[in-house]
Point group: C2
Chain length 282, copies 2
């Protein structure tokens, strides 16, 4: 397993792979890898000839009062996991490698990025879009793998890639969960045992909303109301939003929409968690 930090070195290498007709898969990560990331790497391993994993805690997607500096960094463990999963190339640049002195260009996504996470984290998706475009132009993948846990992010990145004619496919892979139902996230390690119990209200409220939607006993709007009410009753949890939206556009949905997604975000102690579930009704 090769490890590179310089964008130009990665470009030289992947250009050779592409010229030789090899399919390149990229798994962009911020490190602190867990089984969710591992499942993305395995999918890339199955579908591509060359698997590239980037590890970069991207400062431009964190707000000034967010957790950039305390975001977990576990490079030693990450490399061990990636070696085990058969990753070919780790791209682990420094902030200076990615954002040289005087950096200013930003990729600003459309209205899809102003909703939900975008409304609660101003500038977040411009940071995500900018770093993803850079990772795509550096690693030149045929496919890029994103987890459905960050559902809006995957949609935004797919749209940006499409709008900017990036010659690749964005592949969204299923959310991985712990046995208790909590979606895997690098931030889960910040939760105390008691906070973790509280956090479980998030997937529980989402599952419950999915159940009433599927049963046909509630409209999207009613399911949304119930979810909000459920979260508001949980002590120690501060909800940011609980929404039932159209699965493909994230627009508010009407009673006749069949492909919907339930998305929620909440803070537990100092930790902000998000989760979602797609529901296909018939």
């Amino acid at each position: 397993m090769k490890r590179l930090a310089r964008p130009s070195a990665v470009q030289r290498l992947v250009e050779k792979h592409r010229a030789a007709g090899r399919r390149v898969g990229l798994v962009p990560t911020m490190g602190a890898l867990h089984e969710g990331h591992a499942s993305l790497v395995r999918r890339a391993r199955r579908e591509c000839d060359v698997v590239v994993v980037s590890i970069f805690v991207n400062p431009t997607q964190f707000g000034p009062r967010e957790d950039f500096s305390r975001y977990p960094r576990t490079l030693g463990n990450d490399l061990k996991l990636l070696r085990r999963e058969g990753c070919d190339l780790v791209f682990a640049p420094s902030v200076r490698d990615m954002y040289p002195e005087g950096f200013g260009t930003m990729v600003v996504p459309g209205p899809l990025a102003s909703e939900l996470e975008g409304a609660h984290r101003p500038g977040h998706f411009a940071g995500v879009a900018t770093v993803c475009v850079k990772l795509f132009t550096i690693c030149k993948p045929h496919r890029a793998y994103f987890g459905a846990k960050d559902y809006q992010q995957a949609l935004v990145v797919e749209q940006v890639a499409h709008h900017l004619n990036l010659d690749l496919r964005v592949v969204m892979c299923p959310t991985r969960r712990d046995l208790d139902g909590l979606a895997l996230s690098s931030r889960n390690r910040f939760l105390s045992a008691a906070e973790r119990e509280v956090a479980l209200a998030l997937p529980r409220a989402i599952r419950e909303a999915a159940r009433v939607l599927r049963s046909g006993r509630a409209t999207p709007r009613a399911a949304q109301r119930r979810g909000r009410a459920a979260l508001s009753r949980v002590k120690g949890l501060v909800p940011d939003y609980f929404e039932v939206r159209q699965a493909d556009t994230l627009l508010p949905c009407s009673p006749k929409d069949r492909r919907v997604v339930i998305l929620a975000a909440a803070r537990v102690g100092k930790t902000r968690l998000i989760d979602n579930l797609r529901v296909f009704l018939n």
Copy 2:
């Protein structure tokens, strides 16, 4: 000479060229081609194996009160010129090919784009940056050729390409001029004979400023003052700016700067003209 309109068709073709080890050169144009464009194509022809010329009048770089709809469109003549110059592939998309329904992503350049043209044409360089990134990801050139007549544009595009790790070199080529000294521009055809006489004041003021700078008799600031005064005396010409700036950053220059550029913009009748000259002092 092949002609394509669909971005994905161009990508398929240039990928084959790249995989075969051929160097791809791109000359992005808005059509209405003249000898300035021809000189870019010849340079690309000398330096690359495959020469791609894009023809696209890009709506996102025109302001609401600018000349998008009356910008000259001369596709028949353009194709004739390109065939003569040995162009291999013409990429001539429609607006819908480039900006499908719901398009929203913009590439927003840094502070370099807020000065001069950027100050007089709000949003102009975001439109330029967005379309250039798209042309680069579609045509995947090793080199892209721009005329020095649009000096700030070439600098902005080079910076954006660098910031977004686009794996190509931006090549700036000398401004071509008519015998009377007017820089070639697709917009010159809008000038009446009388307006053209008036317009010549622009290159004349720039040459005069360059002369006094080179002679050492004037500081950048004094040369700038003289240029502004000269333009303000010309009847029928409305100056937008006349500036002496650092050649590489476009920042205001101090008396000790050796690499400077004189940039000017003015309106003559309904036509807006720009021109510039780099001056290396010793």
